[in-house]
């Protein structure tokens, strides 16, 4: 492919401000946070691109969260996301304003739009990035992402083409902090939308309530064993699971004791699970149980007995009473401000 000779003309960092029904997607705030860092390092502006209908107030929100400039288009044709229309507007705007970096959230919509845009612009796109930084020598964006089902990490660059495009995984970048006093510039985009751009027709949009997550699909499992001591205890574990957006599991001992149904059993005779986090509460760690959960990404074990076998495979080992620990976990998870303050104070200490 041809190298772009005018690569130096490209500057500024763009964030695609995905909104649905007039609300910014949470990833946009994260992209603004990350985009700000990149823009600072590059010594350029952070810009947001906002497409929608009756989304005027979102322009201010974007500035509040750090955008120096908001490119926008507000039009009934943009009421709902359609690939062809959004691609056309963004491609024409990129060609006109020439950003060097374009960040898109790795949502279902972002992952639909990103490749279409990058393909038309004949540039590279790195999917589902979990880390971004700038190579100080070349000013290239280093885009790090997992591959092979997370078994390998790869750092991707796009040295000879602009813009450098990434879709970014939700929940890994630090959120931008709102500042009501910020001021920004608004630039209206002027792209003609024709009938040909409406080849795919929007019919309807349906919100579905998520079905109860199964043990196999759950990212978070809070599991209880004999140490739970009574049926009521699983309500507490359920509360923690709800906080994390996960489900409750159990060891065979707890199931045999009649505290919880067999459907929740993890292990040899139950379900084999592989969540992101497995919190074992009052589970000693019999071999049948370990067989069903030892491939979990992160294992947290809470047990009174420091010699419980579960500790041998746990990443975080807590010797203590689950009835003391779990309620405190729930309490802290409820208090985001306190968590953020804790993280900040740690950072200060580390520096």
């Amino acid at each position: 492919m041809e190298m772009k000779s005018d690569i130096k003309e490209y500057k500024n960092v763009w964030v695609y401000a995905e909104q649905r029904d007039g609300v910014l997607m949470p990833i946009v705030i994260e992209l603004l946070g990350e985009g700000k860092k990149l823009a600072k390092e590059l010594g350029v502006e952070l810009c947001a691109v906002l497409l929608g209908h009756n989304v005027g107030k979102l322009k201010d929100e974007l500035v509040k969260y750090g955008a120096d400039k908001v490119y926008y288009m507000d039009n009934p044709d943009l009421e709902n996301y359609l690939t062809d229309i959004h691609t056309k507007i963004i491609v024409e705007s990129v060609n006109k304003y020439k950003p060097e970096v374009v960040l898109v959230g790795a949502t279902h919509i972002g992952r639909d739009l990103g490749p279409r845009v990058s393909s038309r612009l004949n540039t590279g796109l790195t999917a589902d990035c979990t880390k971004l930084d700038i190579d100080p020598e070349t000013r290239n964006l280093r885009q790090t992402r997992p591959a092979f089902g997370g078994n390998l990490m790869a750092t991707i660059i796009c040295p000879d083409n602009r813009p450098q495009m990434s879709t970014v995984r939700q929940g890994v970048m630090d959120k931008a902090v709102a500042d009501d006093s910020r001021k920004g510039e608004f630039v209206e985009l002027d792209v003609e939308i024709t009938e040909a751009d409406k080849f795919v027709k929007f019919i309807d949009k349906v919100k579905t309530k998520k079905d109860a997550i199964s043990l196999t699909d759950a990212n978070f499992i809070v599991s209880g064993g004999l140490g739970v001591k009574e049926k009521e205890g699983f309500k507490l574990l359920q509360e923690l699971a709800d906080k994390l957006g996960g489900v409750v599991g159990a060891s065979r001992a707890a199931v045999d004791a009649g505290w919880i149904d067999h459907a929740y059993q993890v292990g040899q005779t139950g379900t084999t699970v592989k969540p992101n986090i497995y919190i074992a509460c009052g589970i000693s760690g019999a071999i049948q149980h370990l067989a069903g959960m030892q491939s979990s990404d992160i294992i947290v074990a809470i047990n009174i007995d420091p010699s419980a076998p579960i500790f041998e495979i746990a990443d975080y080992r807590i010797v203590g009473d689950l009835y003391e620990i779990v309620p405190k976990l729930i309490e802290l998870l409820d208090d985001e401000q306190r968590i953020e303050a804790l993280i900040e104070s740690r950072k200060i200490k580390a520096n």
């Binding site: 492919m1 004949n122 997992p146 890994v172 309807d204 919100k207 802290l332 993280i343």
Partner: protein, 261 residues
């Protein structure tokens, strides 16, 4: 009516292991499989064919000669014809260059109504090749298809979102990418396996396609892998000690810092 299904042979990433001594990826002995989302795409096409025998389902892949095996699997599931584009010139292609090569093969296959692909392949998880093929063919796309029907030259699809779905309608030609919720792929029937090996798989090199070597492969790829590495796992577990308050704070902060909650 013709449906082209784009498929990929991928290493079964659930079987990929890390060498504990060297920290590198062990690829030896890892089975190669038909990419799971692609199997959903193929099933989507075959289900339409079940209802209408005038439909032809052709499968297309880019890969080494060994990809023949996966194409036989597709034929054993019920595909009519199989096409493999295979050439050293394609080696090192990123998604941009891959879609370039596949699009040129599709142009040669001609006369398609629907192009079906899996949402993404498990070795790369990029979800880019489908939309990029559509772009290069200058046709529209609907990704994340979780339900579809076809009537009178028009598809009606449900496009999966994180919190629900959209219903979209489009005339053909159109490119669709399938998610696993679309269906449960059929298995291979015994007789069809033997029939599959009686069929000819069409193999095209770059010379058979209307594309220049400079437009594919590593050279044509805008992205480069600067480095790859095995993610560091906390190998040793840590005891969290202190008062219950401090234990809980340490745990939550640690989990937040590694972005798992």
């Amino acid at each position: 009516m013709k449906i082209i299904v784009c498929v990929k042979q991928v290493p079964d990433t659930t079987e990929v292991k890390i060498d504990p001594k060297t920290g590198t990826l062990i690829r030896d002995g890892v089975p190669s499989i038909l990419n799971p989302d692609d199997a959903n795409a193929l099933e989507g096409a075959l289900a339409l064919k079940d209802a209408n025998s005038d439909i032809t389902v052709d499968v297309l892949t880019m890969g080494p000669p060994q990809a023949d095996y996966m194409l036989r699997e597709c034929l054993s599931m019920g595909a009519d014809n199989a096409f493999l584009i295979s050439d050293r010139a394609f080696a090192g292609s990123d998604t941009w260059a891959t879609s370039n090569a596949l699009a040129s093969a599709i142009k040669k296959m001609d006369n398609y109504d629907i192009i079906f692909a899996g949402r993404q392949a498990i070795d790369g998880d990029t979800a880019q090749v489908g939309p990029q093929i559509a772009e290069k063919l200058n046709i529209s796309q609907v990704t994340y298809v979780q339900k579809m029907s076809y009537e009178n030259g028009e598809v009606t699809v449900e496009r999966q979102l994180e919190d629900g779905y959209e219903v979209l309608k489009a005339k053909t030609p159109i490119l669709l990418t399938a998610v696993k919720e679309l269906n449960s792929p059929r298995y291979m029937a015994v007789d069809k396996i033997f029939d599959a090996y009686q069929k000819e798989v069409t193999v095209w090199s770059i010379d058979d396609l209307d594309i220049e070597p400079s437009e594919v492969g590593l050279k044509a790829s805008p992205t480069r892998v600067a480095k790859s590495f095995v993610p560091q796992n906390t190998t040793e577990g840590i005891f969290l000690e202190g008062t219950p308050e401090k234990i809980v704070e340490d745990l939550i902060v640690s989990l937040k810092e590694i972005h798992v909650i």
